[in-house]
Amino acid sequence: MKTAVKTGGAAAPAPAAKKKSQFQEVWGRFKKNHLALFGMLLILLMILMVIFSPIIAPYGFDEQNYYEIFASPSLQHLCGTDNLGRDVFSRLLYGGRVSLTIGIISVGIGLLCGGLIGALAGYYGGKLDNTLMRFIDILMAIPSVILAISICAALGPGLVNTMIAVGVASIPNYARILRSSILSIKQQEYVEAARAIGASNSRIISKHIVPNSLSGLIVQASMGVGRAIISAASMSFIGLGIAPPNPEWGAMLSAGRTYFRDYPHMVLFPGIAIFLAVLSMNLIGDGLRDALDPRLKR
């Protein structure tokens, strides 16, 4: 990453600027971006609330109370109750565990497999690149929703299978991004220099190429979490996804849609939860992209 060298130094020999580690430098720029900071705080707050849900949640996630079905939001039930009289707020907390884990792990799967394929294709090129890229083209040609559905139908519904389905559907995305950033980095002089001093392929990949291509991946990964949560939600909308009565935001949203006319709180709060989680991840993604790419500095 070329740091723009300022032409014409200060009159007296410039005091050597303290070599800030790349992380501090990026964090410095990230901090200045209020939107990104807000996103970071929001997601941390949600993660904390979700981890401590057994303590925070006023009710169990499957505590049914048939005398209080469809109660609208009140002090007892912050977000009201659903068609079986269960407290929506508690279900949101427990559901958050599932949704956020789906988001993060499926991005992990996509990142790992996609990144690997992208790295191999990008670095070695030639026939390997061609075959891997044709495979990626095939995966991309199949619409991701249908790919996810058939994986889920093949493996059977359930949390782990949803994660795999959503993860696999996002492989092409990461593979292409990593491959294109590697292709451009490969031509940089410092890679040739490393090769000139006899560094082995694996060393070059790990030391030079991956760190520099991380910025593109990190940005995509953060936005990918948002996309994963939404696609998991759409999966339960079509009837796949996690088994009841375990709560999951998407399942609650799709269950609530039949009542949205008379009891909109059942749809409103899960929708807002998904919206906030995805928004914060996207804000972080945006902030990271600006922080990691000095050119866009104000």
């Binding site: 499957d62 049914q64 048939y66 005398y67 209080e68 079905i69 469809f70 109660a71 609208s72 068609n83 079986l84 009289g85 139908a153 059977g156 519904p157 009837g239 796949l240 088994a243 009841p244 009565p245 269950a255 849609r257 039949t258 009542y259 949205f260 006319r261 008379d262 009891y263 909109p264 709180h265 749809v267 409103l268």
Partner: protein, 525 residues
């Protein structure tokens, strides 16, 4: 250019705002009392309805698309409902299952196994062919041979059914069978045009059936709509309107909205949560009544021995508060099951319901020494109502100490597993169309499905079907219902309701428990 951009941004901004604050507008009231949503001035002809419901077209919204309209090659209620308007039958059953002749002018039982039927002579098919006895014989033989209708026609002897003269047919039975007329009046009793099928081929016929009914199929755009128009040389009473269109809308909410906004004149399967709102709507009449579908839990104690002990099954039955399930899962629009069969069947005998007694259930489980930690798997397929039932039942069983796991399986897998007895326990339903109780016990006859391996019971079930004398047959079925109820391998829950939404300007709509109302008599008020 710049100014235009600003105006566009403004419009879009308001659009976003409007959609964000929309839900607060129709803020629901507390439990049970649905908020009266004012649906504007309730004028009959809403502004943006498609072809504003001109008096000449009846638009009906159904929730599923039939795979075919060939009476012998399909097993979907929607197919029989639409099919009855296109293909006539020898006999017709009204809402109370009273049989009246239709194509058959006269009929008489020559002996226990031969029914002589004389058909009308003035009937032509929509392709101009004249209907003769050959078509009737062909239809009966086809019904016996086609895989989707053979089970219903298992008592009919296709090969021996023969033509007596141009308009008379002797229909043979393999053995005396009380429900013969009811089967001929049922969905699969349609009389098809022999020459049309041979010419078009089965598949094409299924999409554009040639019948002698009140309507003719003009267009079928799959996933969207099936359009029928009036058959002008129909032998019976011609319908008052010209076009009948069935629109396929799978989303419950969209169907309800279409009936509210007048996009359709009649809507099938109104969700139980929209009933209250539609009843308040001056433009819509809600027509509802008990259906002929029984929702029940089926426990496979033959192939899986987790629930082999009848005491445990009895306890599981006692642990369920059926009234609560009906109130919450069906929002009250259902009747608690009093026997294995829905109340609408002629041979129905009140046997249950079992009193809700969780303490007794706990005692019974303790007494049976059942290890409550073993997981009990309850399989369901993804359906809003079934999932609610499953979650309530699982909750009630957990309350009495059982360890229940709900497993969502997609519909195709469940259908395959059920028929081969691979499902440990599931929530499913059985429909007794034409008031015929046989479908309740049909699964029991095949040991591989895992309902029962008690040979005597299976023999009794098979025998009951052939008893001609009504009183004797009713007694036999009453005893069967009692025996199977006590066995507890099937825990009946409730019979749901068929709920239809009908625009106020539509008259002559008659409720039908099998969800196959006949629409030829509809007029616009």
């Amino acid at each position: 250019m710049k100014k235009k951009v600003r105006i566009l941004a403004l419009v879009l901004g308001t659009l976003m705002l409007l959609s964000a604050c929309a839900p607060s507008q129709s803020q629901g009231g507390g439990q049970g009392t649905p908020a009266p949503v004012s649906t504007g001035n309730g004028s009959a002809a809403p502004t943006a309805a498609p072809s504003a419901s001109a008096k000449d077209e009846l638009i009906v919204a159904v929730s599923t698309e039939p795979s075919s309209l060939d009476p012998h090659n399909v097993n979907m209620v929607t197919a029989f409902m639409i099919g009855q308007h296109v293909i006539d039958r020898l006999f017709v059953a009204d809402a109370d299952y009273n049989i009246t002749p239709s194509l058959a002018e006269e009929y008489e039982w020559l002996d226990d196994t031969t029914l002589q039927v004389k058909i009308r002579e003035d009937v032509d098919f929509s392709n101009g062919q004249h209907m003769t006895a050959d078509d009737v014989v062909y239809s009966i033989q086809r019904a016996c041979s086609m895989s989707q209708s053979a089970a219903t026609f298992d008592y009919f002897d296709g090969p021996n059914t023969a033509k007596v003269d141009e308009y008379t047919v002797n229909i043979k039975l393999k053995a005396p069978y009380p429900n013969a007329l009811r089967v001929l009046a049922g969905g699969r009793g349609g009389i098809v045009c022999k020459s049309a099928i041979e010419e078009m081929g089965e598949d094409a016929y299924g999409r554009a059936p040639v019948g002698s009914g009140a309507f003719i199929v003009t267009n079928w755009s799959s996933g969207d709509r099936i359009e029928l128009t009036r058959n002008d040389n129909y032998w019976g009473a011609k319908p008052a309107y010209k076009d009948l269109t069935f629109r396929i809308i799978t989303e419950n909410a969209s169907r309800t909205i279409e009936i509210e906004t007048g996009g359709v004149d009649i809507a099938w399967d109104i969700g139980s949560d929209d009933v209250a709102r539609l009843e308040d709507d001056p433009n819509v009449n809600v027509v509802r009544g008990a259906s002929s579908t029984m929702n029940h839990i089926v426990i496979n104690s033959v192939n899986f021995d987790t629930l082999k002990d009848p005491k445990v099954r009895q306890a599981m039955h006692m642990a369920l508060d059926m009234d609560a399930i009906v109130a919450v899962a069906f929002k009250g629009y259902a009747t608690v099951a009093e026997s294995l069969s829905p109340n609408s069947t002629t041979e129905f005998a009140k046997v249950g319901p079992t009193a809700f007694d969780p303490e007794g259930a706990k005692a019974l489980i303790a007494e049976s020494g059942f290890d409550t930690s073993t997981p009990i798997v309850l399989q369901i397929y993804k359906n809003q109502q079934i999932q609610s039932m499953a979650e309530i039942i699982a909750n009630m069983w957990t309350a009495v100490g059982l360890n229940v796991q709900i497993e969502v399986v997609d519909r195709a897998t469940m259908v395959t597993n059920n028929s081969s007895g691979k499902t440990p326990m599931c929530i499913t339903s059985v429909t007794c169309s034409d008031g015929n109780i046989e479908s309740v016990f049909r699964q029991w006859e095949k040991p591989e499905t895992g309902f029962t391996d008690d040979e005597a019971l299976i023999a009794a079930i098979k025998a009951a079907k052939g008893i001609m004398d009504d009183a004797e047959r009713k007694a036999a079925y009453a005893d069967l219902q009692q025996q199977c109820w006590d066995l507890n391998t099937v825990i009946p829950i409730a019979t749901g309701e068929n709920i239809f939404g009908v625009r106020s300007n539509v008259q002559g709509f008659v409720f039908h428990p099998d969800k196959t109302p006949n629409l030829t008599g509809i007029t616009f008020g």
